[in-house]
Point group: C2
Chain length 201, copies 2
């Protein structure tokens, strides 16, 4: 019974933490990491600042969890797509779409807009290691596509960096109230960026 | 005679300003805009801080001139390439190479690594207007390529943003002492990013 109650309060605490991350992501996007205050984040949830400090030590800890959550979600998608039984070009198009949705949606998107340089070194290293793992998963799809002769022989690392750059850069120009939906961007980027790798028959 | 002397001292002042921008670019690249001090920049030239203030009011003014010089150089290249009598795919490959050389070389490259957000609003607007002009020049090449049936019909704005993103992102990962030269990156990016736009015959 105690176990069960503990489980329930753990779930409640986790749900609360996610709400805080969502509010923080919105505040960071609006005002930038330096501009957003813990008061802003708490106020968005009808919480007091003191109440928020029960869940997170400070603003940098919130930034870390935003980045960490976003990185985990992207790695999970990349590795899931890598295991699908579809041709490499289809995997790559799906991964481009998944990353765009992850980056440009409300919660996780804000993380992409933020510099990680505000993180303390040990945490920065963990986020960078996760970004590397994501990059390797994308590169792995390109390499497999070259082996299966779907893609033309290329420098898979450079190809992955070109795609990642194009996709990451959307965080700089995409506006939720702009003329293009995330799905439209995904379709066009999937076409332009993947077609350049295809073996010309 | 007075005229001539004035001309000469103007040239000398301009040359000195360029040396300062070069030293500043190196200091910004090494330590970041916040981390680099005016003393660092002056020391790199064997100047005193006071002497440097004769040419530039403060560090933000140096940042502005770095960005402005880099933007002018890129616009000049884009407009020159746009006027060449070569097919659109060749223009686009040359522009990708020109932007990479401009971004990754010693002087101008540093500007690409810097956030412009430290600039005062009026100057920020001028830099952003120049970046827009560069983006339009690239988009114009894509549009002309679609009209001349070298490229497949596409959203030229999105295509230009994909290319710009891939190229701009190199500032995040390129290392002058890394395994790839700027020319190798240019060749592979030119191939991958332009081939995706070609009309498939």
């Amino acid at each position: 019974m105690v176990q069960k109650l503990n489980g329930r309060s753990r779930d409640r605490a986790l749900a609360r933490k996610r709400e805080i991350l969502r509010s923080a992501a919105a505040a960071f996007r609006r005002r930038g990491f330096d501009g957003a205050s813990v008061e802003d984040i708490a106020a968005g949830l009808g919480m007091t600042k003191g109440n928020l400090y029960y869940y997170f030590k400070d603003k940098r800890e919130i930034l870390y969890f935003c980045q960490d959550h976003s990185a985990d979600r992207m790695i999970e998608e990349a590795e899931r797509i890598g295991r699908l039984r579809v041709p490499a070009d289809e995997k790559l198009r799906r991964l481009i779409g998944a990353q765009l949705r992850c980056m440009l949606d409300e919660l996780d998107g804000a993380a992409a807009h933020l510099e990680v340089s505000a993180l303390p070194p040990a945490r920065l290293d963990r986020i960078l290691a996760k970004r590397d793992r994501y990059e390797r998963a994308m590169r792995g799809i390109v390499e497999a596509g070259v082996r299966s002769r779907v893609f033309t022989p290329c420098d898979a690392k450079l190809a992955a960096l070109a795609i990642l750059g194009a996709v990451n850069w959307t965080a700089k120009w995409y506006r939720p109230d702009g003329p293009l939906t995330v799905e439209q961007i995904s379709a066009e980027f999937g076409r332009i960026l993947v077609q350049g790798l295809l073996r010309r028959t």
